[in-house]
Amino acid sequence: MEHQSSLNPIFSVSDFIASVNQTFEYAYPVVDVVGEVMSFKVNQGKFVFFDLKDSGGSIGCFMTVWQLRTPIEDGMKVVVRATAKLTQWGKFSLTVQSVRPSGAGSIKKSYELLKQKLEREGLFAPERKRLLPQMPHHIAVVSSTAAAGYADFVKIVGDRWGGLQIDVAHTQVQGQDAADQMIRAIRYFNEQETLAEVLVLVRGGGSADDLSCFNDERLVREIAASRIPTLVGVGHEVDETLAEFAADVRAATPSNAAQIIVPDKREIVADTQHVVALIAEKIYARIDEISAQVAVALLGLGRLCVQNYEHTVERVAAMGSVLSAYNPTAVLQRGYAIVRGAATIGSQITITTYSNEITAEVQHVEARKG
């Protein structure tokens, strides 16, 4: 740099560019700029170029494909985090570190584009889903310990079950850095010597912008690649994030995640009491069954006794009839008589009739013919 007599410095072109860039770095180490994407293109599959514009101006933007973590296209409103730079060709541009959609329309558009892309790759396929253990002992949680959603999750898990070892990674769950922090936390848990049985990501409700970090492509892929089975519960029931689709199990809310991950001890107690009641019923049923069998046997015995009695009565009656027929009085009653004494002339005989006892003398005896 030279100096003239007027004290105005004279720069070489490259020095001036370097000086301007130094000024930019000092004034705006990092700047967030919102605008509409125009002329979006990717060169050689590596370099991304687009213009960021509003009604009053336009700035060229440059970034790498690797840094582009959410799909964008022309017309979308985005916020870029960037450093300002004057190139050696004298062109002013933003070197973008990250880009995120801004406004409901752009967030939704970006969400749909990424969802289609990941669906085509099979990242959300049902056959990839793993089952969670029914009664886990050790769970890992990624969330902000200051968030209401985390507090809900911990409270409901505590109400429902106990004896769990819960390891918590405290991360941001909204904002520019949230996705990266959650990715690091997921990796941390997946690199542990003893793995947790379930990895849970939870966050309470918020605006579409608040929840947009859960649609970050790298975060979604990290969840899908987790060695530990994953459970994600973000926002309210109506909210949908790609992180939830990539998870093995999706919960509607953090509270719902707690309900899914552990059984309710009150239900277990009720179940055990039900089993005991069922067992008691079985005993009563068996007693009733045996009592019924005894009653049937007694009834049979009673019937046999009655039958035997009736049979005996009938036999006695029959024998009585026979005996009646042999009764001498009955024969005398029919007009017959009993004669006792020797059948010789002159001897006395006794004649017994039904109503008289007669003594007579034998006057004639003659043998009967035929």
Binding site: G163, V168, K265, V276, K282, I283, I287, I290
Partner: protein
């Protein structure tokens, strides 16, 4: 509560279900049933008591996730 004790709860629940199976099976006899019932009832009471005592152990990991550094 340790993992082993927790395992015991699962084992107790499984054992309780085995009692129910015995009562549903062909081995069931009235003579043995009262003893088996008392054992099952005791097991159910133990499960209930164990569940009431259980507390979760929450540990916030010390590592920071706001930077890429190992800490």
């Amino acid at each position: 509560m340790s993992k082993q004790e927790k395992g015991n709860i699962n084992e107790k629940i499984a054992a309780l279900n085995e009692y129910l199976e015995w009562f549903n099976g062909d081995d069931f006899t009235l003579e043995q049933s009262i003893e088996k019932y008392n054992e099952a009832k005791k097991l159910a009471d133990e499960i209930q008591a164990n569940l009431a005592e259980l507390k979760n152990e929450i540990t916030v990991v010390e590592k920071r996730f706001d930077t890429d550094t190992e800490s």
